[in-house]
Symmetry: C2
Subunit: 493 residues, 2 copies
Amino acid sequence: MTCEGYLKLCERSREVYLIRSVAAVLTWDLETYIPSKAVEYRADQLSYLEAKAHTLFTDTAVGDWLAASEQYGFNPDSEEYANIREWRRAYDRATKIPVSLVEEFEKTRTLARDAWIRARNESNFREFEPHLEKIVQLTRKKADLWGYEESIYDALIEDYEPGIRAGQIKPVLEDLRIALVNLLGEIREESVAENFLDGDYPRAGQMALSEQIAEALGYDFAAGRIDSTAHPFATSLGPCDHRITTRYNEKRFEVSLYSIMHETGHALYEQGLRADRAGLPQGEAVSLGIHESQSRLWENHVGRTPQFWNRWHATACKYLPDLKRFSAIEVARGVQRVAPSYIRVEADEVTYDLHILLRFELELALVEGHIRVRDLPDAWNARFKELFGLTVPNDSLGVLQDIHWSHGLIGYFPTYTLGNLNAAQLMFAAEQQIPGLQDQLAEGHYQSLLLWLRKNIHQHGRRYLPAELVCHATGETTHAKYRIEYLRKKYSL
Amino acid sequence: MTCEGYLKLCERSREVYLIRSVAAVLTWDLETYIPSKAVEYRADQLSYLEAKAHTLFTDTAVGDWLAASEQYGFNPDSEEYANIREWRRAYDRATKIPVSLVEEFEKTRTLARDAWIRARNESNFREFEPHLEKIVQLTRKKADLWGYEESIYDALIEDYEPGIRAGQIKPVLEDLRIALVNLLGEIREESVAENFLDGDYPRAGQMALSEQIAEALGYDFAAGRIDSTAHPFATSLGPCDHRITTRYNEKRFEVSLYSIMHETGHALYEQGLRADRAGLPQGEAVSLGIHESQSRLWENHVGRTPQFWNRWHATACKYLPDLKRFSAIEVARGVQRVAPSYIRVEADEVTYDLHILLRFELELALVEGHIRVRDLPDAWNARFKELFGLTVPNDSLGVLQDIHWSHGLIGYFPTYTLGNLNAAQLMFAAEQQIPGLQDQLAEGHYQSLLLWLRKNIHQHGRRYLPAELVCHATGETTHAKYRIEYLRKKYSL
């Protein structure tokens, strides 16, 4: 005997997924190939699709099917139970916000994004300030409607990292901060060097090299492709269509290579989800923190290492002859250089999480009402000085650098650091469980690692909460010590 | 006082247009960049969208709004009246076919297409025969449901060329046949030459040349782009997004150049439709025969001429140095060569319409029941011998060469010839009405011609029936004499 409501939910969930996958095709095209005059109507197409998907999923019938499914008594260990749990979370969150608030928020962030672009160009926070105030106000309103127990921040991060709480993130980031600041102090002056690898690296050679490496990592080009965009990203356009993008800098080959390794990490996760569960929570990535662990693992733990360059140096020199100026070890040293800098997206592995810590502290204080939006630039600059020892010269290089807040994404930043922590923790566990893993990686054999990730992370989709998933794979929930140990081993001299 | 039903129809029509424009993005991606494993799910996405659009448009409410609008008493000369006429035609046709027949037809042609590919590869008509029999049977069933007065063929061609009848096409094609066969006889032996222009034409140079020419013709790259596909096409992804594709043959530059000029002609039509009427009949191309007139006009009347090569020869030599072997006049002679051949899509201007005549006669006889599917290859080969003087060596070069019938497209072929006829007739009228047009074209100034087409064809959308539109622009309905005169002047020696 089957549960009718559950079957209906599966069907509706697959329909919503299909509509969103259609929107993903349109968004991919918007970022890659769309002609300029077509952008305006593309926005109409996308908002039509999103409204359809939203309406279908927040239908009262969905509430009835959910209630029936919850009463049916599925085994708590079953896939069905997990699917229902995930639908319930999504349904309650979506239906708790009145349509008027959704519309007001959309309008606000559209205007905010425009204002942010102007403000950043002019390095003038005051231009952005009223918009950010509105965003914070509406965000708090949404969080109140969603509800929370300890911190209002908990209601926000739930969108990106289900089940985690600000109170859990705080001590982890504090441990990390202490370790990173110490480590930075230890790293000798000369590692803060210029980009000595800069040279002449034709785009065609960069493309060929990156594609060969992505394929070696296990990326399936028959279910994906690489294009070029202003900002690299990975996206899924269907159960067998996981595309990535990169950007090319002909002076600096690392830009495309490591963005492709990063996005390949995301795409390998998506390609490892169960295609036969596409459209159901079981076939969906579980959280941003887990997603980012996959990208960081392949980019940094696999890619930014001497072993990697021992394996790929000769190949890279074939495609990019200007690299012959350097030995494999020199290239590795170049791509591993550490240098405190103002911009998060250009940060090295050691300082990266300090950028996140700064943002987490500030957005937490903002939504909890401990600082005012108007005081944000001063707070940013003061804390930046403490963490990095640098004086922020202007707001473009400071509080205005990221797009997230203008997009209404508050509670998102910590997932970057969770990704870093999970990457280190997963890599540690993989090394324990796969005999000779480092030897395999040194030889350019990545299958064992990929299979381990498929088995322990990818195939589960949203079956478990992110913290449970990490616990199953590594024996404990996310902890900073693995990352600290990894960075210390890699960078301390 | 406004007509409520009419406003509702406008809204619904725009919604259906939006969904179909979304499908057009997905189809464009399917033809250009999709990874192979993603094709299967893409079919699901597309059939979902088509079903949604179909359901929305065949809603009984649409019938009510139509009835109310028809009774409202709009002026027969008004835009509203024409929109209602077009919706009525589309609504009646869509609702006359039961969903079960639509589904059976879709399934049949999906299987037929597969069988056709196999049959063509093996040059084995028997493999395709049962599928084509089914298609003809279902097509006749649909035509009977749609209804017709004289020929069953009339019900079919209505999809592609509203208002025209087989009885009107027949005498026109017969006039054309006599003239073409005479002309072919007159053309001297040596013009039936090898492709003497063949050489070494790198793809990058072909792209640069074609883009410069497309831009000179008036193609707006801010509302379009050119990509590469196996079969060139033009498509609209929204009111300001009209893309074209081409294919490159590095031995034969004409393949990309003339396919781009052809598709640019289609795209110029779409770019000339009123964007403020997007989603309404008034903002839509009127018929395939008119569409094809635009592509043929730019490709052949503008592009395959000595004047064109006088203007572009130096530029072409810059991008394609191997062209320096030839003078402008020699290039023009090369791209104008006439040679009876087996394959329609490779045919020259003089023999092209004989290929269409053959298909028209056969498909007319098929649906009218005068020949059987099993006798088609013999009938094809016999008539081909009469028309071209050539013996068809196998069915791949004969009855199996075109995809149309396997797709269920019966009644479509004559629109190619209507396009040719309209192109010549429009060009004749334009020359009468634009002082010094040929001088302008010789200098590479195409704006006057484009503006004339915008004013007389593009901006009207579906305001008039195709025959009326041609009549308004040229003073009479489509007639073969302009094309005959044009070909005689261009090719008779």
